[in-house]
Symmetry: C2
Subunit: 289 residues, 2 copies
């Protein structure tokens, strides 16, 4: 997905939030924004916003020495989600359609995104997501597709959220699927890494791999060969969140995208209202493009 | 007043809002942001944000040919304010302290600012401003100062707002003061120009001059010699709004600043909460610095 003009402003907002979370030194905050402006001045419109977020991560690291500014917040949202987990597991188990309920909860987790803001009410979002209508809902298509599927690659997004992803992974496993979860290759924003996957015990239920890139989304060319192998061998790829969608929306692969359209460029790209819940099969993505 | 890191983000937000108000062509919107990024990359921290806003104006004009993108909105807020004017005039006339009531209303008008947002409830802000406590209130000092004053230069800020300024100008004239109002030298954002002053009939009650610069604030070095002459000859200078404060806060002159602290850098600079009403005598400004 190409950059929208709004993305430029959003990237500066993100850089300012991270700068402030990382250092009180206004001179350094200034330097971070200055350096980002230099990058933005020569930016081709074909850049994926996720790549800029990766550059912000590097600039912040070079300016302040901090490579994981949201460390505490990541822990915090993992802990909140872990507390909710037993209750949500019961909810999935007792629901009429456990697969759909797990999908709804997995999308709810997608609200915690430090690329967008810095406070989130996870519990309220879960409640909302259980009742909210989907703006795009390729669920029947997905169910049909699922019958012939053996290997699933599940592209995780953020911390906290990965606890909810576990519910969906477990449901898929119950249906006899072999699920591998891919997380980020390095810490960036509040995105889930191998460390987080281990912290929430995701590695105890399925194989978890890093994707080789410290970007808050999947830019295929930046990922490791291990990841690319998994990607090509998967019968189905479940892609969570905006960052993965931005990087993969133009790819020809058996993808389904589960996300909350949190910003207007993404909503516009998908033809939905901001705030919408989206369950999009890849075949439809190619129709959008 | 020096730039804060927040100002960088704010300037990109402003540029995006203006770009969208001016053209639907995303390529041009993109170009405007790209060119702004180029400017920002080499920006000295001593720049006044008002100067960047002036550069945005130029970039938009060069990219789209539009030099007055908020023409209609300016008219709209002038009209709203003109409708409110008779009622507010009665309110001032019948109040226990007409001078203070006129000051409160003049500050209320300061809320309409397309540098900050694009929708404003002028009527509600007037009601609020009549009751809100001032965070800085050098009113008694101002009254004393006023007794020895003959020539007043009144630095106007925005359209709509200038209708309310007229109430204060008329009260000052009733006290025998000779008031000259200075407006912007060219259209920028929703700032008041000579055209607006004429539209709302301000030129019928006092002398109105342009300040020679199409900037949304007063950067002294950019103003015309006519303006500078008025500035030096004035016994008192009433400065309305953030943009004038940003440009003049460090100047050694008999200034009083009337403004609503609409953004956090200004609020921080003044040591008040965002949203505060401020009536600041210049002697205090120098203590702040």
């Amino acid at each position: 997905m190409q950059l929208h003009p709004d993305c430029v402003v959003c990237m500066f907002q993100q850089a300012l939030r991270i700068a402030k979370a990382t250092t009180d030194d206004q001179q350094k905050q200034w330097e971070i924004l200055n350096r980002l402006a230099k990058e933005m001045a020569d930016l081709p419109v074909t850049t994926i916003s996720v790549e800029i977020a990766g550059r912000i991560r590097q600039i912040v690291a070079e300016t302040t020495g901090e490579t994981n500014p949201y460390h505490q917040q990541k822990q915090h949202y993992n802990d909140i989600a872990l507390k909710l987990y037993p209750h949500l597991r019961e909810l999935v188990k007792n629901s009429q359609d456990p697969l759909l309920t797990a999908i709804r909860i997995a999308i709810a987790g997608n609200i915690v995104d430090f690329g967008i803001g810095d406070t989130f009410d996870l519990e309220k979002t879960v409640d909302d997501s259980l009742n909210q209508e989907f703006a795009i809902f390729d669920y029947q298509e997905f169910r049909q597709q699922l019958t012939g599927v053996q290997k699933i690659l599940y592209l995780a997004d953020n911390t906290g959220e990965i606890v909810f992803d576990r519910l969906l992974v477990e449901i898929l496993q119950k249906q006899g699927k072999q699920v591998t979860v891919a997380v980020r290759g390095g810490s960036v924003l509040n995105d889930a890494t191998l460390e987080d996957a281990r912290y929430v015990g995701l590695d105890e239920v399925c194989e978890v791999i890093g994707n080789g890139a410290a970007l808050p989304g999947t830019v295929f060319s930046e990922t490791s060969s291990q990841f690319q192998q998994h990607f090509h061998q998967a019968d189905l790829i479940v892609s969570k969140g905006q960052g993965n969608f931005e990087g993969l929306s133009d790819m020809d692969a058996p993808l389904v995208f589960l996300l909350k359209a949190k910003c207007s460029p993404i909503a516009q790209e998908l033809g939905v209202e901001p705030g919408s819940m989206v369950f999009l099969a890849a075949s439809k993505t190619r129709q959008l493009a």
